[in-house]
Structure formats: C-alpha cells, structure tokens
C-alpha cells in the first residue's frame, strides 16, 4: 500500500527534490535581497557614500548630526584579518605539509581529528578565551593597559581560521598525483625538496584557495572579535591598540538601534559591505580551485 502511494506520487516528489536542489541559489539571492531591502532607503542619497568610506568618525547616535564613517571599522577588520593571516598561514601550511607528507597512519588520523576539534570550538568560546584568558596574559607580558586589542583578536582569529587552511591545504597536497613524488624521488630529491620544488608548485592553486578561505572566515567572524578586540573605534597604530571591526559593530549595535531608523539601516549597509567582501574572497577561492580542476582535466 505504502509502496503504491510512494510510487504514484513520484512526479510530485521529483518536483520537491528539484525545488530543494534550487534552494541554495534562492537562499544566496534571498540573503542579498533581504539585506539590500533593509539597507535600500539609506542608499538612495541619504547616506553620503564618500563620507561613509573615507571618514573615521563613527557616531551613529550623535545629536543633532550623526556621523556614519566606517573607515576605522574597515581598517580594524582588515588589520585584524591581516595579523591573523600572518600567524595562521605559516602555521596552517606547515601543519598541512606535516600531516600530508611527514606523517602517516595513526598519527595522521589523530592529527586530522584534533584539527577538526579545533574547528568545532564555537566562536563565542574563542571570544571568551580571548577576553578572560589571553587578555590578562597580554597585560602581564607587555604591560599594556588593556588586554583586549588587535594582538589578542589576531591570535584568536588565527587559531579559528587555521583549521580550514590546514584541511583545504592538505587536500590540495594529497591531490598531487603520487607519480610526481616518485619522479622526484627517482631523480634523487629528498622529502623537503619534493615538498618545496614539486608539491608547492603543483598544488599552488589549492594552497592559495586554502589561504583565501581562511581570509573569508576571518573577515566574517563576529563574536570572537566582538569580545577579544576591545571594541574601540579608532584607526590602529600599534598591535596593542583596541580596535573595532565591521562585524562586531553590527552585532553590538543592532540590538539598540530602532527599527527603520537611519542607524538601523546603516548597519545593514555595513552588512552589505561585509557580504560583498566575503563573497568576492570566497568566489575567488572557488574559481582558483575550479582552475586546477580544469587544468587537470585538460
């Protein structure tokens, strides 16, 4: 009976499956559409875009004239991401090389599971770690007045974005055919020479994609930077300056902003900026990966 019903409904089910298959496209457009819809009233001339991108003054609730300049926030986001990548890329690629080329069997599996655990730790816990543990350590080591700063956020973000660099980078190294390694070995190359002279050039697109995905992850991260960077609107001059990022601003102020007011809408404009930034980074990463696949196929 159930069989008959299940078989009779086949066309309907196939349409349902098709619809679900298209859901990803619908959602990506939906996300852009709904964020854009809330931001739109501000974009039609009410927001001075030159001031928006070039002024470091972020005073959304000032009377009578609020200032919406995101330069400091943008530089905050970029500087903390850059610092995180400075730490995460060497560590991540080193770990990817170790897992893929210098370890095997049990060790490799264990390391991969540990890296997966690192990726699973929720961002609010990372923020908590930065706020409660790393902050005091930084104060004690450097004598800085506050421990929540660019350096703190950079370290935390590095630890958060490293797992994706390791796993994508390791995949890229594994994807290099063993015949490349064997050819290099037969010509007398050592393990390190194989990594440096053969694997890196062969896997460069995959490794680049790994780094880009790490960048995308770091730029978009919210809770950790909200708690670990000190949340002060200023253009950073040293590693120990507290900073504020685009994402943290949205998270901190959306709750207070009155729905429909300019402040609320400007936060959605910032959301658009973050969305476009991460979209470009992720798209580039994807195209870079597609690039290798096509090269392989050809």
């Amino acid at each position: 009976m159930l069989q008959v019903v299940l078989d009779r409904t086949e066309p309907a089910v196939e349409w349902l499956i098709r619809l679900c298959g298209w859901s990803a496209i619908l959602l990506v457009f939906g996300i852009f559409f709904f964020v854009f819809r809330e931001a739109l009233p501000m974009l039609g001339g009410k927001l001075n875009l030159t001031e928006f991108f070039t002024s470091a003054e972020w005073r959304p609730t000032a009377e009578p004239e609020p200032h919406y300049g995101i330069l400091a926030l943008l530089l905050g986001s970029l500087s903390v991401t850059a610092l995180a990548m400075l730490l995460a890329v060497p560590l991540g690629l080193g770990a990817a090389v170790f897992i893929s080329e210098f370890s095997s069997g049990r060790v490799r599996e264990t390391l991969k599971v540990l890296i997966e655990f690192l990726a699973a730790i929720p961002s609010v816990v990372w923020g908590f770690v930065g706020y409660m543990m790393l902050g005091p350590i930084i104060i004690r080591l450097t004598g800085a007045p506050v421990g929540v700063c660019l350096l703190n956020g950079g370290i935390i973000l590095a630890l958060m974005s490293v797992p994706i660099i390791v796993s994508v980078g390791e995949d890229a190294l594994r994807a290099v055919p063993d015949s490349y390694r064997e050819a290099a070995l037969s010509m007398g190359a050592g393990r390190w020479e194989i990594v440096y002279r053969v694997l890196f050039p062969a896997a460069k697109n995959g490794l680049l994609a790994a780094v880009l995905l790490g960048v995308g992850r770091a730029i978009g991260e919210t809770m950790a930077v909200l708690m670990a960077t000190g949340h002060a609107v200023q253009i950073p001059h040293s590693l120990l300056d507290p900073i504020r990022t685009l994402t943290a601003t949205i998270a901190a102020e959306l709750g207070e902003a009155v729905q429909g007011e300019p402040h609320y809408r400007v936060l959605f404009v910032i959301g658009l900026v973050v969305f476009v930034l991460t979209f470009i980074v992720n798209l580039t990463a994807d195209l870079v990966v597609k690039g290798i696949r096509n090269e392989r196929a050809a």
Binding site: C20, G21, F98, L114, V125, G127, R191, L254, L283
Partner: protein, 331 residues
C-alpha cells in the same frame, strides 16, 4: 648424540653470519662502497629534511598545544561550579548564581527545530545534485551557491534572519525565526555531506536496480538512500554541533537575555511556543562574560565548558560514525 651435531651446526651458522656482517656489500674497502656512503650533498639533504620535518611538526604543535592548554584551563577553572544541580537550576540573582537550565533547554529546542527544517531540505538538495542534476551551467551555479552559502558570515545570516523571518515573514523575534536562521546557516553542511555520501554508492548498484525496471525515485528510495544513510547522518550530526555553538544568528532573531523556566514537571521541557523567545547557551556565555557584573568566574567557565563539551561530544559522535563506516565498507 644429537647435541654436538646441533652445536656444531649452530657454530658454523654463526661463523657464516659473522663473515657476512664483517664485510657487507659496499662497506669501506670493498668495491663499490662509494655508492653507499653519503656524499656531503646527500648528508645536507638529510639535514634539510630533518629541519623541515621539525619545523612542520612545530607548526602542528603550535595548533594542538594551545587547544589542549585552553581546554585544560577551562576545565580546571570550571571545576568548582560543575555539578548536576548546575545543569538543572535556573540562573538566579541577576544571573550571578544558579545554573544553566533555561539556556540549556533553549539551545536544545533551537537545535532540534533548525534540524527539522534543514535536514529534509538539505538531504533532498543533496539527492538532486547527485542523482538528478546534469552537468551543465545551471548545476555549476547551484554548486557555486552552496559553496558561497557556506562562506556567508554568521552576522550576515543574522541580518538576513532579521530582514526575512522577523520582519518580512512576520514571525517577530521568536524561537521559530531563530531556528529558521540557524537552518539556513547550516544547510550547506548537510547538502555537501549528503552529496558525498550519495556519490560513494557505486553506480553499478543503481544500474542493477534500473535494469529491474525501477524508476529513478524508486532506485533512490530503495537502493541509494539505505546504502548511504549513515554517511548522511554524519553530516546531520555536524549540523547539530554547528547550530548549538552559533551566537550571532540568534542574537537578534529570537534569543533572549534572561527568562526563567519551571525546573520541574512537563513545563520544564517544553516551556514555550514557537512564537516565544528563549535563552540559549552560547548567548548566555556571551551575556555572563561581558554584560553582567559580579558573576563568579567559575559560573562563566562552567557555562563555557558545558557548551564546548556539548559541541565536542556531538562532533566526536560524527567522527566515530565516520571511522566505523570506513572500517566496514562493503564495496
């Protein structure tokens, strides 16, 4: 009788071996020894390899050791607070004492409802991409969309949730709106893992089924899904772990700063309707550590440890299932 004979033969054997080990092929003084001794270049290569291995090992340890240290420190600091009553008591006295019952129940329902929404859509989308979609430009766009959806930052999901579910769909700030937002955020995890699980089922299984006259959907229902169900499950479990840990998407869509729940009776387990707001463990940790003054640190660390424990336990389940599956794969 036999003893001397045996002894002699053993001696002879030893002599023979000694003779061999005394002058191995390629030893100094024998012809061809240059072949087997390391030249300076080769020795340098060995050193370089060791240095490289050591540096890479250091990089790996630089990731593992802080994680271990952090987890240990969290556990040590949280130890005084951790008890059964910590789990089943509501926060008291402006959240400065008591336990985490209300946030725990809130997280539980947020995760379940988001799973109920995301799992069917995600699994069917995976089925579409692996079983129905042809290799054309449209499918490539879908794949691109899945990849990009996975890369959308959680705060953008929060804005989307506010714009689409809270405002446009008129759900208001509610459990349902927050769950929908979490579902959208975790959908790519389920789609990707479902597709991988389905792709692992050999094409021959499908062909055999088609040859018996089964339609595409019958084949999927009776052959493909049963053979890949555990692989799909690992993805679903991963979704649970991500949804439980996220904070930003629920901050403005349905999570509430503070609410009390009955601690006993049926009301303690499903205390609200879909339109109510609820507390969540991840947001509770954020509130405790940055918004409330006078909280004993043990309480904060305790909340962090419960959240991390929950997420890592769910993750281990997924990893364990994956390893088990790989070990008993039949094809």
């Amino acid at each position: 009788m036999n003893e001397p004979l045996e002894a002699k033969s053993a001696e002879e054997h030893d002599e023979l071996r000694e003779g061999q080990t005394a002058r191995p092929v390629g030893a100094p003084g024998t012809p061809g020894h240059e072949l087997f001794t390391a030249t300076p270049v080769e020795r340098w290569k060995q050193v370089a390899e060791n240095i490289a291995r050591f540096v890479c090992l250091l990089a790996t340890l630089a990731l593992i050791v802080p994680m271990a240290a952090i987890l240990t420190y969290l556990l040590v600091q949280a130890w005084p607070a951790l008890s059964f009553s910590f789990l089943v008591e509501n926060p008291h006295d402006y959240m400065t004492t008591g336990g985490i019952w209300a946030p725990l129940v809130g997280t539980f329902w947020l995760v379940w409802i988001s799973l109920l929404i995301a799992a069917p859509v995600g699994v069917l989308a995976g089925v579409y991409l692996n079983e129905y979609a042809r290799d054309n430009w449209f499918t490539r766009i879908i794949n691109l969309a899945v990849v990009n959806l996975a890369g959308v930052p959680s705060i953008i999901h929060a804005l989307f949730g506010v714009g689409a579910f809270v405002m446009f769909a008129g759900m208001g700030r509610s459990l349902l709106a927050a769950s929908c937002t979490l579902a959208v955020m975790t959908l790519p995890v389920i789609i990707t893992s479902t597709r991988e699980a389905l792709a692992a089922v050999p094409i021959a299984f499908r062909e055999a089924c088609w040859n018996l006259g089964a339609s595409r959907w019958q084949t999927i229902r009776t052959i493909v899904l049963p053979n890949s169900i555990s692989g799909i499950l690992t993805g679903v479990i991963l979704q649970v772990s991500r949804a439980a840990g996220e904070t930003a998407p629920i901050l403005f869509t349905g999570a509430v700063f503070f609410s009390t729940l009955p601690e006993h009776g049926a009301g303690a387990f499903f205390p609200y309707g879909l339109g109510d707001r609820c507390m969540a463990l991840s947001m509770h940790l954020f509130t405790l550590s940055t918004q409330v003054r006078g909280v004993t640190p043990a309480l904060q660390y305790g909340t962090a440890v419960v959240l991390i424990g929950l997420v890592l336990a769910v993750n281990s389940l997924s990893i364990g299932l994956r390893i088990y599956l790989r070990s008993r794969k039949k094809w």
